[in-house]
């Protein structure tokens, strides 16, 4: 009887796991099948390399996603440039420097940061970060890639901090003791022993943070101006793949080339985040094996 119960429970959990895999494959299949019709009418090369995206044009519809790809990479890169040093620094502080009292206060606060709705962060981008950027760079407005980067950095930070801290924490205590015994200072121990030992975990944390930044929609939609032109610099307005889908999917007539093309963008986005998550997973596994 007990054995049967165990079997049932086992089966239940197996089904749960299977369900997630099916959902993932289902999404992937849906994206592929709904975007295929787009390429009957759009040249794949135009789709990937033309800088003009204007499916509802007055003159002639065009479907090029390269400026969106560039925009997405720009805000993501900017976000990582800000979030990685800050995130690793904070993680190192929390794991090695801060007293346990401070850590107990700081950790929940960082976790709350992860829970702020993206629309609120976007709002702050419009009323706070935007005017600030305009002032600092002497621009007329602050709706640009820098704004998006700063906001996305704020959103990626909690992921980077808490996973990096976990990685630093799981470096065996003996490493630290050995380093200190050899006469190294605390700073030297942290920089030359602990961070290198936890590096793969930290890299994985950064890549997960990057996945978060690439897929974020509302914040960038509100704060970056969304001009579809190819951005010329970080101080130009950008329009990411996610904003384009969010703006246009609501009004697009079903089963038109435009509709399928939006799914095409979704597919490209899915593939990018898939690769990023996959890479971080591989790195994380490597690291787990090493420390065992």
């Amino acid at each position: 009887m007990a054995k049967l119960k165990e079997k049932v429970i086992q089966g239940f959990f197996f089904l749960n796991g299977l369900f997630v895999v099916i959902v993932l494959l289902g999404i992937f299949a849906l994206l592929i099948f709904t975007s295929i019709p787009a390429f009957k009418e759009i040249n794949l090369r135009e789709f990937l390399f033309s800088p003009n995206w204007n499916p509802t044009s007055y003159v002639k519809p065009s479907f090029g996603i390269i400026s969106m790809l560039v925009s997405t990479f720009m805000v993501t890169l900017g976000a990582l440039l800000i979030a990685i040093p800050l995130g690793i620094g904070t993680a190192a502080y929390l794991s090695d420097v801060a007293s346990s009292r401070i850590r107990e206060i700081a950790k929940p606060i960082i976790e709350i940061l992860a829970g702020i709705p993206s629309v609120v962060i976007g709002f702050l981008g419009i009323v706070l970060v935007g005017p600030f950027i305009a002032k600092v760079f002497g621009l007329h407005n602050g709706l640009n890639a820098v704004n998006g980067s700063i906001l996305l950095a704020a959103m990626a930070l909690p992921t980077i901090i808490s996973l990096s801290e976990d990685a630093l924490k799981s470096v065996p205590e003996s490493y630290r003791q050995a380093s200190l015994a050899l006469g190294a200072s605390h700073w030297q121990t942290l920089i030359r022993v602990k961070i290198p030992a936890a590096l793969s975990g930290i890299i994985a944390a950064c890549m997960l943070g990057m996945g978060r930044a690439i897929g974020e929609t509302m914040t960038v939609l509100m704060a970056t101006g969304c001009a579809p032109a190819m951005p010329r610099s970080f101080l130009d307005s950008v329009r990411t793949m996610t904003s384009t889908i969010a703006i246009e999917l609501g009004e697009v007539p079903y089963n038109t080339t435009h509709y399928y093309a939006l799914f095409g963008i979704g597919l490209v986005l899915f593939i990018i985040t898939f690769i990023v998550n996959m890479a971080s997973d591989i790195i994380l596994h490597k690291y787990e094996r090493k420390t065992k």
Partner: protein, 303 residues
């Protein structure tokens, strides 16, 4: 396990009953961001008089509202542009006959920053600015300052109307695509180089904080302001437009009653209070033909 099953059953019953209530008593209105504040006000006034009725008004843009009407997701679609022939044939395919009612007039306003000396433009100049052919204010008699464009996103009826009537071509790729009228007003207020276009209802409280540009149809013609109601009604202001609602078939019951209220004197007073203009006679005639509603039907019903 059984306990959870019970909760599930109760929850689903709840959901089912909620859906039923929705279907019977609630009127769903969706669409234009230009119209949302006005129609929300109208709905509030109407519900005060008819407490048994419930009306939900949401935005999303004219395109979104029309798509919702076609997909049977709303009862009334607010639209600041006309339905495209493609949309009408799509609706017909799904067994929907869209009928149009004009509920207010709008003087689509071109706005600039208060510190910008440019306060009048011709339609041609506005077209050139938004097509990206004129990129510096000095080319239209202003300071030596690059122009920053603020427009709407493609789901906006104002985006389409302005493009079809003023630009007759595509918007500059460098135009910022903002999320609604209010965002454009905010952006232009802060940006000395900015220019944008919004429904006149969005500038009525902003006099003294923004320039509302006077517009002439052709060089040499008189410049008219969208804030002047007779210029908008007579068409002397060149970019005035009707604001519409689309419904499926000739309106009946609650839908008819609500639209009649909008067209009544009382409703048209709200239209004016919200900064837009009451419908002129030609559109009253149009409404009569299109949906069979005479302007004062609401009062007659109360007799």
């Amino acid at each position: 396990m059984r306990k959870y099953l019970g909760i599930l059953v109760v929850a689903s019953m709840f959901l089912a009953s909620a859906v039923n209530v929705n279907a019977q008593d609630m009127l769903q209105i969706k669409g234009s961001d230009t119209l949302i504040n006005l129609v929300q006000r109208l709905a509030e006034e109407y519900m005060e008089k008819n407490p048994e009725r419930y009306i939900a008004v949401t935005g999303g843009g004219s395109g979104t509202g029309i798509a919702a009407l076609i997909n049977r997701k709303c009862d009334i679609a607010n639209a600041s542009r006309l339905m495209k022939s493609k949309e009408i044939s799509q609706a017909n395919e799904r067994g929907i006959t869209p009928k149009r009612a004009v509920i207010a007039m709008d003087g689509l306003s071109v706005i600039t920053n208060l510190r910008n000396s440019v306060d009048k433009l011709t339609v041609d100049e506005i077209g050139k600015i938004f097509r990206g052919e004129v990129t510096n204010w000095k080319e239209v008699g202003g300071p030596d300052l690059p122009i920053t464009l603020y427009g709407r996103q493609s789901n906006s009826g104002t985006f389409v109307f302005f493009r079809d009537v003023v630009l007759k071509g595509d918007y500059s790729q460098r135009m910022n695509r903002m999320n609604g009228n209010a965002q454009i007003v905010e952006a232009v207020k802060q940006d000395i180089s900015g220019v944008g276009y919004v429904g006149v209802g969005y500038v009525k409280d902003m006099i003294g904080e923004l320039n509302v540009v006077k517009v002439a149809s052709r060089p040499g013609d008189a410049y008219a302001s969208p804030l002047n109601s007779s210029d908008v009604k007579s068409g002397k202001y060149p970019i005035s437009r009707p604001l519409n609602q689309y419904i499926n078939g000739t309106p009946k019951g609650a839908i008819k009653d609500f639209i009649a209220f909008e067209l009544s004197q009382e409703g048209q007073k709200v239209v004016e209070e919200e900064g837009f203009f009451p419908i002129p006679d030609e559109y009253r005639e149009f409404n009569k033909k299109s949906i069979g509603l005479v302007p004062h039907l609401f009062k007659e019903r109360n007799h």
